[in-house]
Symmetry: none
């Protein structure tokens, strides 16, 4: 099990849940695995009141916070993981198996708990029973966790999905392999592609006087390191180059045409 | 996941279940993880009929076998594992953590599947919602599996316990350490910090006419996804915000001062 300080950094977030029984089941599973913080985004008002006032509802259900928008619920979170099945969509985000996603969450909870002054939190999102998370919901996520289920019946009941995820997050992992931070894929840009983007950004920095003469070299180096650490893919690169070309063109036009 | 021949050797056995919703939930979890054979021992007759005839009940629920006694249900089984929490009793049998018990079950399913002539089966028992397995039920078991839960709320909902056990049994063990792509540190920005940066970039996009009205929303969403995937740290964020503020200031100045 995690330490209480670690568990305390996790927000379980249900987006537009419909069935009061499922909300109650999610809360029960949270209590089973020692998690306290439930957030509900845009619940159906009547169903939410019914769930909250159910006999035997755990304290954490009565203490749950209700938000109008996902943005508000996620505001204090520095790692956001969505859950879902992959039957219909192929999101842009990294797809993690539940064991891999749970390992990430454990790591983030541990590092958050180690620095009590730092208040950053981890969010685990569950979509509504009918549609799961929407594409817009998923756009707030760093990665998507997919539970490995049978093709014939991939979609899990909400309360059961919450139970399985929290079980995996709180499970004792004896000898986990070290965490690897590098993601290199077929579509990772080459060094010279990154350098062309860096060139455009540096040119922009110069034009807007972001880099003074003294720190220009240092900024250039920091930029090179930054771009490599972020590891954009080729599509990202094209998008960023497009934007900076556009900025440069606009700046140049206003400059040359005062 | 297990092979179909392996999954086919497991009997999930519910002893005296009371709530039709829980019977349905157990069947749903079985379908999720590719198990087909449900046995019900001494169900409350009315509740069982209700569960079985529920709209959308999976085939395996309609095909479930009903027995009067546990002895009959277990007759073809060569390994029998019970489930439960340990709050009240200390049975004589070996107590296994769920990962250890699941490993035993996987091994037994694999060896049973390898000798098709041999018809031995593996049983996983769940007690009624109220009392769990009785001492007499447990006397039929080779060992007892206990899910590691919080002391404050050790007892799991039946459907959720079934889901968690079947998840663990069917989980991929060898590929224990998949690629971990996310790097989250103390200095990872929160969701609202990322959103402020996104706001500055969107404002820039508008000013330089990168986003036409038609693709503005789509670009905004793509930008949100991109920033989360790149996972900048707080220093990166400050740097990027500084640059875009500078760009905006410059664009505004040249615009207001043509």
């Amino acid at each position: 099990m995690l330490t209480p300080a670690q568990s305390d950094r996790l927000d379980v977030i249900l987006v537009s849940p419909r069935n009061p029984l499922n909300i109650g089941a999610a809360a029960r599973a949270m209590a089973n695995f020692g998690f306290l913080h439930l957030s509900i985004v845009a619940p159906f008002a009547v169903n939410w009141m019914e769930a909250k006032s159910a006999v035997g509802a755990p304290d954490l259900l009565r203490d749950a916070r209700v938000y109008d928008t996902l943005a508000e619920a996620l505001a204090p979170c520095s790692l956001v993981l969505g859950t879902g099945s992959l039957d219909r969509r192929r999101p842009e985000q990294t797809i993690l198996s539940l064991p891999a996603g749970a390992a990430q969450i454990r790591q983030a909870l541990a590092s958050a708990a180690e620095s009590p002054a730092h208040s950053s939190r981890v969010a685990l999102l569950f979509g509504s029973e009918k549609h799961g998370l929407t594409t817009e919901d998923i756009s707030w996520c760093h990665a998507l966790i997919v539970i490995d289920t049978a093709d014939a019946q991939p979609s899990m009941n909400l309360g059961q999905a919450v139970a399985v995820c929290l079980y995996e997050i709180s499970r004792d992992v004896p000898a986990e392999s070290p965490l690897l931070n590098l993601k290199v894929a077929d579509d990772s840009p080459t060094s010279d592609q990154l350098e062309r983007l860096a060139g455009l950004i540096e040119e922009t920095m110069d034009l807007v006087n972001y880099s003074t003469r003294g720190v220009r070299a240092a900024n250039g180096e920091a930029l090179r390191v930054l771009l490599r650490r972020l590891m954009p893919n080729e599509a990202d690169l094209r998008r960023m180059m497009g934007l900076f070309r556009r900025i440069l063109w606009q700046l140049g036009r206003t400059k040359n045409n005062p």
